[in-house]
Amino acid sequence: MKKILGNCRFVLILCAVAGANGCIMEEKVLEIVITEKTCIKLHEHHTSEIYSTPAVIDYAGEIENILEDKGVSRSEIKRGIVVSATHEVTSFSQSTNWIISGRITVRRTDGPDDGPVDILSYDSISVPAALGKVSPVDLNPDGVALLNRALKSFIDGSNPELEFVVISGEGDVDPDPTLLNPMIFNWQPCITIQVIIEQRLDVPDPF
């Protein structure tokens, strides 16, 4: 029995070696990437091809919601970036095949004099064909730069608010909407962003 208990000390030594925190656990700094979409819900009801539809987005609130879902705080964000944009018609019940073109501008409305600049443009989209279909759209560098500045401003502690305006000019809608046949649909351009979170974590890395 004495020998068995004596041998148990080997186990203790092994466990002590293996279990020593400084030996097994190491603090690592790693960057997590969270990918999310911010969507602008738009209701279009027009009797002319020339129109503008504004929508204000609480950008800070949107990002805060994303972070809350992931259980991280604003102070943990290292960087935010704009990745891509899409659009989708979410409701449409008319029989007319509206073909629309246009652009969307963006500007800061929470204080800083930034914008308006074009964020995205779209060309010859069939409204009924786009119903329920998520399609990529081309982004404009000036608009992307503004959104990236807004993301940085959020990280630095501000609460950016953005106004997006859909602008349709002459020749941008075919056929022309009229009082008798107005163009009515809901759609949502979405911007995909990534936020990079820096986290410190103790992980086992013994050798």
């Binding site: 020998k3 068995i4 208990l5 004596g6 041998n7 148990c8 000390r9 080997f10 186990v11 203790l12 092994l14 466990c15 002590a16 293996a18 279990g19 097994i24 656990m25 690592k28 700094v29 790693l30 960057e31 997590i32 990437v33 969270i34 990918t35 999310e36 992931k70 960087r79 970036i81 704009v82 990745v83 891509s84 944009a85 899409t86 990529p136 081309d138 982004l139 404009n140 560098p141 992307v144 730069a145 990236n148 995909t192 990534q194 990079i196 986290q199 974590l201 103790d202 992980v203 086992p204 890395d205 013994p206 050798f207």
Partner: protein, 299 residues
């Protein structure tokens, strides 16, 4: 009594060591959420390979099995893989609607902690998540060896840990194997002890997060020189793993099936026989090389 108390304390320290993998697992799920199937597989592969190698190692430390008589040994094994430079990056592809589509060397789960960010059209960017910056991946497993009946012994590996985290769930490993002495049929004709056997194991983390299965069958040889006993083994290993996680990109659950991999496994080790204890260390050459050391107590 004090010695036995210490033994139990030590045993639970080892169980704690096993459960230390849990925070890392939670973090891995967060990292994976930025990826869809193809990138996620490449991101996780080094860890999957290491886990398979660790599970299939440390299954024996001698080929000598008595024909009849009591054998009961409680063993504790530490098994580790050291990662090489090739494990640290993988060919990752940009995802979603990012343009232009690009393929770059991005960190794997064991690679650098810093995210890799690349530029795209119109000032857009795409970020690939960083890794855990691991040099090694080790597991410590308790196992019980008992027999012998007609030159046959059994090996059981078992642990189960309640992680206390509802998102991760519980962690468990169960393994069962049998080995049979071949040399008993040859009397003194063979210069070494020879045995053949198999081992099956199943690892589960959470309901679906990670589920892994291994199977090994092979032959083992050893020869005793006073207290020293060099040993070797040649086996065929199989390893398969399923991972399920939520993707931010697809806003859906992603199921990754790491298809069954089969590899040849050569083990070379040295066993030191003390009165009621054995100390051993070994190196394994397989699909992923590993080393192991440990201690057995009993008769």
């Amino acid at each position: 009594m004090t010695g036995m108390y210490r033994f139990v304390t030590g045993y639970f320290t080892v169980l704690l060591l096993i459960s230390m993998a849990v925070p890392a697992s939670a973090q891995i799920e967060d990292q994976l959420s930025a990826y869809t199937g193809r990138n996620a597989t490449g991101y996780l592969k080094p860890l999957a390979d290491a886990f398979g190698a660790d599970m299939n190692a440390g299954l024996f430390n001698s080929a000598q099995i008595p024909k009849m008589g009591p054998r009961i040994r409680l063993e504790i094994r530490v098994i580790s893989v050291i990662f090489g430079d090739g494990d640290r990056t993988f060919k990752a592809r940009t995802e979603g609607d990012f343009t232009p589509e690009q393929t770059v060397d991005a960190p794997t789960v064991v690679g650098q902690g810093q995210a890799k960010i690349i530029g795209g059209d119109a000032g857009t960017s795409f970020a690939f998540p960083g890794g855990l910056d691991l040099s090694s991946f080790a597991i410590a497993v308790p196992q019980l060896r008992f027999g012998a009946v007609h030159g046959t012994e059994a090996l059981i590996r078992y642990f189960a840990v309640n992680t206390g985290d509802t998102e991760i769930g519980d962690l468990s490993l169960f393994g069962f194997g049998l080995r049979h002495s071949i040399s008993q049929y040859f009397g003194k004709q063979l210069p070494v002890d020879l045995a053949a056997g198999f081992m099956w194991q199943r690892f589960k983390l959470g309901d679906d997060l990670i589920s892994a299965n291994t199977f090994m069958f092979g032959v083992h040889a050893s020869r005793k020189f006073v207290i020293m006993e060099p040993y070797a083994g040649l086996s065929i290993d199989t390893f398969s793993m399923d991972v399920t996680f939520d993707s931010d990109v697809l806003e859906d659950e992603i199921f990754l099936d790491f298809e069954k991999e089969t590899s040849l496994h050569l083990t070379l080790g040295l066993n030191i026989n003390l009165t009621y204890a054995q100390l051993f260390g070994e190196f394994s050459l397989a699909g992923q090389n590993s080393f192991s050391f440990g201690l057995a107590l009993g008769i």
